[in-house]
Subunit: 631 residues, 2 copies
Amino acid sequence: MVGVSDRREFRELVSPDRAREVLDSLDVDPDSERVALEAARGRVLAERVDATVDVPGFDRASMDGYAVRARDTFGADEADPVALSLAGAVHAGEKPTASVGSGAAVEVSTGAVMPPGADAVVKVEETTETDDGVAVRTSVAPGDDVMLAGADVAAGARALGPGTRLTAREIGLLSALGVDEVPVRGKPRVGIVSTGDELVRPGGELDSDAGQIYDVNSYTIAAAVAEAGGDPRVYPHVGDDYDEMERLLVRGAEECDLVLSSGSTSASAVDVVYSVIEERGDLRLHGVAVKPGKPMIVGEVGESAYVGLPGYPVSALTIFRAFVAPVVREAAGLPEPETAVVTGRMAVRERYGEGRRRLMPAGLVADGDGDLLVYPVDKGSGATTSLTEADGIVTVPADTDYLAAGESVDVSLFSPEVRPPRVLCVGEDDPLLSRALDRVDRPRFLPVGTREGLRRLREGVPDVAVVAGPETPDGETVDLGGWTREWGLVVPEGNPASIEGVADLVDRDLRLVNRESGSGLRASFDAAVDALADDRDERGHDLTEAIDGYGLAARAYESPARKVAAGEADAGLGLRATATDLGLGFVALGTQTVDVVAAPDRADKEGVADLGRALDECESIAASLDGFEPR
Amino acid sequence: MVGVSDRREFRELVSPDRAREVLDSLDVDPDSERVALEAARGRVLAERVDATVDVPGFDRASMDGYAVRARDTFGADEADPVALSLAGAVHAGEKPTASVGSGAAVEVSTGAVMPPGADAVVKVEETTETDDGVAVRTSVAPGDDVMLAGADVAAGARALGPGTRLTAREIGLLSALGVDEVPVRGKPRVGIVSTGDELVRPGGELDSDAGQIYDVNSYTIAAAVAEAGGDPRVYPHVGDDYDEMERLLVRGAEECDLVLSSGSTSASAVDVVYSVIEERGDLRLHGVAVKPGKPMIVGEVGESAYVGLPGYPVSALTIFRAFVAPVVREAAGLPEPETAVVTGRMAVRERYGEGRRRLMPAGLVADGDGDLLVYPVDKGSGATTSLTEADGIVTVPADTDYLAAGESVDVSLFSPEVRPPRVLCVGEDDPLLSRALDRVDRPRFLPVGTREGLRRLREGVPDVAVVAGPETPDGETVDLGGWTREWGLVVPEGNPASIEGVADLVDRDLRLVNRESGSGLRASFDAAVDALADDRDERGHDLTEAIDGYGLAARAYESPARKVAAGEADAGLGLRATATDLGLGFVALGTQTVDVVAAPDRADKEGVADLGRALDECESIAASLDGFEPR
């Protein structure tokens, strides 16, 4: 396992700034194209559009009223109206048949062509119909309530410049000019080739025993390409069949302005990329001093640009956004989103010392004063949940040892629409809580268990902690609501092994799936084991050693029950409600409390209040959950 | 012409706030639907998505290296490595065939299934291959570089809540969960019925003599509906055929969640709307105390909501954005864009006293310090150019008499992407200028003519004025560039009337199209007429009276020439370059200077500097324009 970079002479990582320069030098500009006006929203004009017609195309009445010769109305007022004869009428969309001679008027509606001879309109409110014409009670000047031909836009005038992004109002102006097809910049075509024997497209059957996982990068990067104004093309998935991979890279390069690959970081897959680039293109860089994203490859294949993204989804998306999205936006003619950076202060101290620039995923939460707190979200590059638990990226310079708590940092939001959660909630997972969160706008819940939830609440990051089992909040907190839930062992339907309690797990050859330590369910279970040990005058540790699977700690409240349902265990620590939901048996071991508490300085946040209100309705939610009782 | 509101007892206009309440009470919620993950970007989750699988689905090696029993490595270090035998290899996507017994190791690649018996991974960098196995140079703890099954997402865990907007990262998480179809809120279907005999769809032939104009509202409102997250349906255009209009309103109501009509404000068209609403629905309000938009109608037709928008494009779009877009966004599950309000100060005093709330279109420009100035853009409701010359709306309370210059105002941007122009340029229109502006990012040019351009520059609103002809800037300005252009009379090809100069226009029966007073071309022309008058010892006014069409003032530099090309005049005031472009004849009358000058306090703005640089290249631009010379 010799590193490819050793063999390929890419011993030196290039700086992130140099990588940006290399990427900026790539040509991914698409040809411009013509699209129908109806389909032009969001596109960018490729060239200037000048008016070819006058708007309006005729002298136009701006009001309902009477077209007159202004001089005929001089001196008219309420006390001394001028009588004019009526020579006809013109409505919008009609060719005038009458003309306005001296002492005459023609009735006009808004938008009508001014009849010949008239130079002004008297509003209908300033007139009175008479038996033989109309009495005008005001004097008007030439041009009053008339829009002259070309007064809005004159033929030959510059209407919209190249680079203009077409929104409703530009589409309005183009409509007024009669333009039904517009020259726009093409969307850069971006091919996405995802490689790796272990990848299965979402929706397919997964063989976990064979190490298969769902392909996350294809659709994620495709969505990110579209967000940047590109036209993504997801190529059929390739395994680690290198001939097929080469074929797809070459096809992608022929069909697209830019080809991205991600997934396989194996040395031989990289060899394929190298050989394609060497035979048909130009390798521009391999390896960037940035975390994550060190193994990035940039080059050209044929007429197309090529970027090899890291395989882990968070790394791939982070590198795409930092390095590739600006190139796609530039080619699409879209500006960098200016509103996408916010400033906050670090909620905690974050150590770092790897000597390369770090693109640190970060979450946001408003404190009690509405100021933004920033906390690192780093669950390892392989974790896809970092994708949704973070709100943006903090760029940490390479020479940083640590970010101090309270230090001011800039966060590049994942998109301008990203906003901090209205309530940040951590702790024990629970089905009633989940249903309550459904009734709150923009919550974020991190299922870290009761103990870690309490620790984080003390640390001052989240607004709310969810506490289940024997542990209780220390320090001052504000109660938002609570309930009890019946817990015990979820067993197969009908309880075929006739399990009656903890003693069966200790004494018999039964396989358990436990919850992780730190969860409230686990704490209640451990208390039950300790009680049995006391009864038997044994050490708790000896009993747990005797339970097969005591160390098999699942992370979510339903997981042990699902293992039981899948036939992988005889019993799973869990809730009666879960057993009922999944049609499984249940051996009750007790009832535990669940309390939802807020940090006192966050209790007035709107999102916290919303959660409190949602929990006030927990009685109705509890009714649908077996073994749950409002407290 | 009795006002409909008199007959229909809607004498009282309702307040804008009441109108919002009525609109909020309309039910335009669409059914939810299921879409493929690939098509889910930008959609909003209709219900919570919980994980149904563990991610990863197996204990997974996080690094390339060797799977071991951690206890076998205790005490190992660089000086004293531990020798392990090699029992096989597992790569990503493979089912392990070997297991790890005491004293053994199995080679693993990143993403591989951990082989049975192993509880940790030693990174390849910490090992050395040996003849009969591997030497491990570090000690590891159980779990090191292993991601346990479900550690990322556990089966049963809450993944995404209802109301979540799906961007690249949510699509990533859903991919990881194997979800290939998601329940999303439907996009509210919004039918658009545009009425008016005078309307022609863009791209169609226009009969201006019959008062036809292009239909601006259909595509504009459709684009605005799409921007608000709705699904617009533009119905075939109806004239003022009332049976057809009724049929379309009813069909739209059957097919859509909301029907919008706009265009015809004629009393009889409103009658049709009334009769449809009365027979099949409920009239909720007619008439709102807001400018523009007074004639708004809100009601229900069958199961659908109905809003009648004003006919003028700017009014229609303004009312749509202020009253209807929030309803569409709410139904689509999209939040109000929070970033779409900016604060600036009024650049000029703006009088107002109509006693109803005003939604005033406003343009933005940064002053020399980067502070935002706000200026009213009010060219009359019929002007479509207000659409693109404004950046947003200032809401002026009904009891306001005036907004003072310098007063702080909030501007609701037309969309969060709207940004002020980088350079605001006013004055004489000119083909060289237009080409130079093409090379500048985000300029705005208002073709108000030389005299008005200089007035506005003195007033302190624009950055730059373009000055042509005899007038010169007063006060201090910064020169950005300039050129000369040959001007004269554009005549039909071959000059069939043998026009030689101004005297022919005065003395012969020839029809002229002039430019508006205030333009530099007109000023040079008037100077030529005055010179002739001096020669003849006559008054200039008598000569201009003798010129047929002297008062026919076109607004753009090409317009008179286009009238000549259309056979509507014998001569048009214009440029040699235009005559050449349009293949017409030209009678030279002189050469005039064009100067581009900046306000001194704006000269350092980036956009102004960009324009200056673009003008430095005017030599090359001038080469393509007949009669132009760089100065």
